[in-house]
């Protein structure tokens, strides 16, 4: 695609020195991103200002010089899954194509703070997936072995090692949920999810990308099998490329272009406790108990579980979620029963039948999707954004994401991530 000259500006760099100077002068920092009028025409319209949409925009501008780009969101930046996820990053997936893809994302995440000049606080504290049954232990070995062959640091560790990493864990011989071992993935960890969203938005905006909040896409115009543009309450916008990055709402936006997706939207809930002094290092996940937990630098425990059992677009959350969460987490760490749940919330997850994303072209020319991120797509933002930007810029689907095309469903060639992604995060 042809490059267009769009306005660029040099953002004021963030640094310790800058903080000092601003502190002394008491002056303001420049805006993280500017607001602008909505143009009638863009080279690329990205629907959804979550990590996927924003990363795609950033890489379009930074790697391909395409910056006549609008990112539209019906709400605020990061108001979707990207602002409500438990922020767990890892690459220890099950299939070689999955592992390679997520590993690329980890690589980008490792340098993201410097890249974006925004501290995203990626804390590689280690990630433990507990095995309570023979079958899950076998899956852990499977994952570890595939990971190693792809160069990803991952191994199965004993209950004693689990106890060493997480002293609060009860590894005694439970009758019901014994801990038989765990998959340990030292590079895994947590990140400040909002900072990732804001950092991408700020950096993309600095390169000329426009970010339009409170701008809902209500229609997509398609003529002769080609996308023409989108409709918003603020007016029509023409664009030869429209990229759907709307996660939980993906079916609705695809539906506007007449494209049907293999996606069911399920709520996924999360909760935080009040802060206490830091006692938990690694991220702990238990697939059998449907719970994962980590402790932030602020001292809160952040919890998640599996998706709600039925399809819904409700983000209201449920009591049974916190009940189950609490009983499961106390099964693992019985001594934290006096901690209190401070807040619970929900997000929407675009679940696919094979727990793998849908990235690439659709039957409508120019209408691209980067969806199907289910319960695990935050960690994928950088790699997906980078690959989608390449697809937009070159017209070719990068090898890294070729296994994840929409056509796989019609062809019956699903990706086998079910075992690793279901509650894995």
């Amino acid at each position: 695609m042809r490059q267009r000259g769009a306005t660029r500006r040099r953002p004021q760099r963030y640094s310790a020195f800058g903080l000092l100077r601003h502190g002394l002068r008491h002056d303001d920092w420049p805006r993280v991103w500017r607001t602008s009028e909505l143009d009638r025409r863009y080279d690329v319209v990205i629907v959804g200002a979550g990590v996927h949409g924003l990363a795609a925009a950033y890489y379009l501008a930074s790697k391909h010089g395409i910056s006549k780009v609008a990112v539209l969101d019906k709400g605020y930046v990061g108001g979707g899954g990207s602002g409500r996820n438990t922020a767990i990053l890892r690459s220890n997936y099950l299939t070689p194509e999955g592992v390679r893809f997520y590993e690329r994302s980890m690589e980008l995440y490792r340098n993201l703070a410097v890249d974006l000049n925004f501290n995203v606080m990626f804390a590689q504290r280690g990630h433990l997936t507990l095995a309570h049954t023979d079958a899950s232990l076998r899956t852990m070995v499977w994952r570890a072995e595939v990971n190693k062959l792809q160069g990803v640091n991952s191994e199965v560790v004993s209950p004693e090692e689990v106890k060493r990493l997480v002293p609060f864990m009860d590894v005694s011989n439970h009758a019901r949920y014994p801990i038989l071992g765990a998959l340990y993935h030292p590079p895994g960890g947590i990140i400040r999810h909002d900072a990732v969203n804001w950092g991408y938005a700020r950096a993309a905006n600095a390169l000329g990308v426009e970010i339009h909040q409170n701008t809902e896409v209500t229609g997509i115009t398609v003529r002769d099998g080609r996308v023409q543009g989108v409709t918003t309450p603020r007016g029509e916008i023409a664009a030869p490329i429209v990229l759907n990055c709307t996660a939980g709402w993906a079916s609705l936006v695809a539906g506007m272009a007449g494209v049907k997706l293999p996606i069911i939207t399920h709520p996924l809930q999360a909760a935080v406790t009040e802060p206490v002094k830091v006692f938990l290092g690694a991220v702990v996940v238990s697939g059998s108990l449907h719970v994962y937990v980590s402790q932030t630098d602020r001292g809160e425990l952040v919890f998640g579980a599996s998706t709600d059992p039925y399809a819904s677009y409700s983000m209201r959350g449920s009591l049974e979620f916190t009940e189950e969460l609490a009983s499961h987490v106390l099964e693992l760490m019985p001594s934290i029963g006096r901690m209190r749940v401070l807040r619970q919330w929900a997000g929407l997850c675009d679940m696919t039948p094979d727990f793998s994303p849908v990235m690439g072209t659709t039957p409508v020319e120019g209408f691209l999707v980067d969806v199907g991120w289910g319960t695990y797509g935050f960690k994928a933002g950088p790699a997906a954004g980078e690959a989608m930007a390449e697809l937009v810029a070159t017209g070719r689907t990068p090898e890294l994401i070729s296994a994840f095309g929409l056509a796989r469903f019609e062809q019956g060639r699903l990706v086998g991530e079910r075992g690793a992604a279901s509650v894995g995060h």
């Binding site: 049907k260 939207t265 039925y310 399809a311 019609e410």
Partner: protein
């Protein structure tokens, strides 16, 4: 815990039910891959009224169809498989 109106038992907590998903007719033609894959994988996934099948597995064990609003979780109609579908085209009580 939402309530689901089982046509036999009345309103019960949703954790007594198994969710069987959007109701879609099974293709009769087995040779058409496109048709089958659409039946297996493609979903309407609307944000609004949706027709789906539930099984009251923790109660009477009976399956039924329901028209549920996927945003509010309100159920405005239920009926038994094979019975005439209710006409709910008038947006009642949404």
């Amino acid at each position: 815990m939402i309530l689901l109106p089982c046509p036999h038992c009345g309103k019960r907590n949703s954790n007594e039910f198994s969710y069987l998903g959007e109701s879609a007719p099974r293709p009769t033609e087995t040779g058409d891959a496109k048709l089958w894959r659409a039946y297996l994988y493609t979903k309407e996934n609307p944000a609004g009224w949706t027709r789906e099948t539930w099984l009251h597995s923790g109660g009477c064990g009976k399956a039924f169809l329901a028209e549920r609003h996927s945003v509010t979780n309100e159920v405005r109609a239920t009926w038994l498989p094979g019975r005439k579908e209710p006409d709910t085209t008038t947006e009642a009580g949404s």
